[in-house]
Symmetry: C2
Subunit: 125 residues, 2 copies
Amino acid sequence: MQCTRNQTEEHTRAMRAVQDSMDILNGKWKIPIISSMCYYTERRFSDILSDVVGISNKMLSKELKDLEINQLVKRTVLPTQPVTVQYELTAHGKTLQTIILNLAEWGRAHHDKIFAQEPLDSASS
Amino acid sequence: MQCTRNQTEEHTRAMRAVQDSMDILNGKWKIPIISSMCYYTERRFSDILSDVVGISNKMLSKELKDLEINQLVKRTVLPTQPVTVQYELTAHGKTLQTIILNLAEWGRAHHDKIFAQEPLDSASS
DNA sequence: CAGTATCCAAAGGGATACTG
DNA sequence: CAGTATCCCTTTGGATACTG
């Protein structure tokens, strides 16, 4: 092992910091929900519900509450009939955009890599 | 809404790419496990087990298999007695380092932000 | 529309013991 | 050391129905 004690401590600290992030972004849905809001200044409950494929309204409701508690998302009720609710990223929530962009980029790269490896059935037909 | 059709399509594509990433990095442990390997050229099973606080050997075993299947991690068995197994990030796995670093940085920033907000009990004593 | 409430099946995952 | 196997409790989260 070529690392010094200081590197080990830095490693430990970095691990904890990553864990802190993951505690807040926990579960299957947080990142996709934030992604949904990333490209718009504001987004309604039903918009996010259709953006995030597969999520149920119960889950979305719960996850948005979590994000609000952690101050990543701001919720605004508009006095319409029936009620409209808008969600938007807070300044703090927007600091996650870099990570989201990186994840999107990585997802594409990974997809391309796997695709390039696979023997294409269509080539044999 | 001030976005054009093209932006909407790009949004949809980005959401899918993020989902693709999250499908591979699913669960509580993948990111911390990769983090554990980020700072070293190679890491043994027991090293990772102690790095990732709270994980069980059963979980670690399963998650490492997943990562190996997705070609993010390479597993090497050394002919020692008893057996030693080394894990290392593949070239492809290393492309996640940016994301890990960003997550660590964000975790620290978030921690600092929350800490700065909290009324300190120690101040009143 | 934007949720909440309840029910319940399935998956997650810890503890422990065992193996090569 | 590096896992695997089993037991079993806990959490997750979908489906459905209901509310302001």
